[in-house]
Symmetry: C2
Subunit: 229 residues, 2 copies
């Protein structure tokens, strides 16, 4: 199996079958998201192309890093010019899988859940909340930010009907594991967990955890380090 599966004869961008790649490190993928976000800002400013060094500078990494990362997925640049913003945005979205829409389920319509339902940034990137769930019966039936709140018992049927593959957990820590189990049982393949607890899942289900208190801890540590030297 060749390292770069499809290199076109004329040197133009490789069509890239995204699914055909062996192993890409987590760090690369997370930078890819940063590249995409920055590219969208740059494109909105009316810019047509951008070089790896400028992109790196804006994001605080080296130009070599940018090129190496992108080289994992194909050849997107033009020598002497840089990368065409529109093309690279398109390519990156294709790699990340956000060129198509994803239906998302949210569980836990508390303060955080409500904020997430109302957040505009998701739809821009191709994510759409199609249903919300809560264990609290008094919330079931409500309409929050235009989304209907259902009973957790309805998760399996609604998930199937709407082809929901991703779930977001915004419940207290004590309920997170059970909610995760029910998501898995409902066929959900990826879970974004905002509860401050590690949940255990079958290996076939992906998870990403976000704990705002932990992020503050990281910040505090970094501030202390600085002021200690």
């Amino acid at each position: 199996m060749p390292k770069h599966p499809r290199k076109t004869r004329e040197g133009r961008v490789a069509p890239l079958a995204v699914a055909s790649h062996s192993r890409v490190s987590k760090a690369v993928v997370s930078r890819l998201s940063l590249y995409l976000r920055e590219l969208q800002h740059v494109a909105r400013e009316g810019r047509d192309t951008i070089s790896s060094s400028e992109l790196g500078q804006r994001l605080g990494c080296t130009d070599a890093q940018v090129r190496k990362d992108l080289a994992n997925f194909g050849q997107f640049g033009q020598r002497g010019v840089g990368y065409r913003c529109r093309d690279l945005i398109e390519a990156t979205r294709r790699i990340l899988g956000t060129h198509e829409d994803w239906s998302v389920a949210l569980v836990g319509v508390g303060n955080l859940g409500r904020a997430l339902l109302g957040y505009r940034g998701f739809t821009r990137q191709g994510f759409r909340f199609v249903a919300a769930f809560d264990a609290d019966r008094s919330k079931v039936g409500l309409q929050v930010e235009g989304i209907r709140v259902h009973s957790l018992d309805d998760l399996p049927t609604i998930a199937r009907d709407h082809k929901i593959r991703l779930g977001v957990i915004a419940v207290p820590a004590s309920a997170a594991q059970e909610v995760a189990d029910r998501m898995v049982a409902a066929g959900i393949e990826g879970i974004l967990n905002f509860a401050p607890v590690t949940i255990s899942l079958p290996a076939a289900v992906s998870q990403v955890g976000v704990d705002v208190a932990i992020e503050l801890e990281q910040l505090a540590f970094s501030v202390l380090r600085r002021s200690a030297s």
Copy 2:
């Protein structure tokens, strides 16, 4: 300079002057936060000690990783027994800097800002929002989740009076850079940024960025990878 600055004669835990350490990688510190969180859960379950292998298993990393990480800061375990939860919690909080309280300022009292102000998880870890700010005059003077909303113009004086060292940005992307600049001008040393944009800061100020859309992207990619193989 010795690798482990203060090793006590009797072999008990080293008192560790946290500030005296050369260089610790970002990955280690973020795992340290996970250890702390898990230890708090374990302690709440009434457990007295825990081994590196069990801690690793709960968190999805190896026992060697746990021990190596902790070894960066001193000697906390007892051979043949494991780590005493209470002691290790105390030590970890001391390392991360959360054994003392931190005053935090929030800018942007929208949906997300309100959710953050109401989140109980912060206080448990030693963070306390002491003031909120918003550019929208109609919000100034309101009381949100028990916190007073001020004009951004008051940031410098309030930050000084309350010894605020950390700031949280929960404003739209278009306003984030300006808010960051004003925070820096007010003497804030660390910024947690929820706006979906990279902000540039002087090297003396730390930053941590959280972009929920990016987290979903990471999840989507990981799900695709899995289903492609």
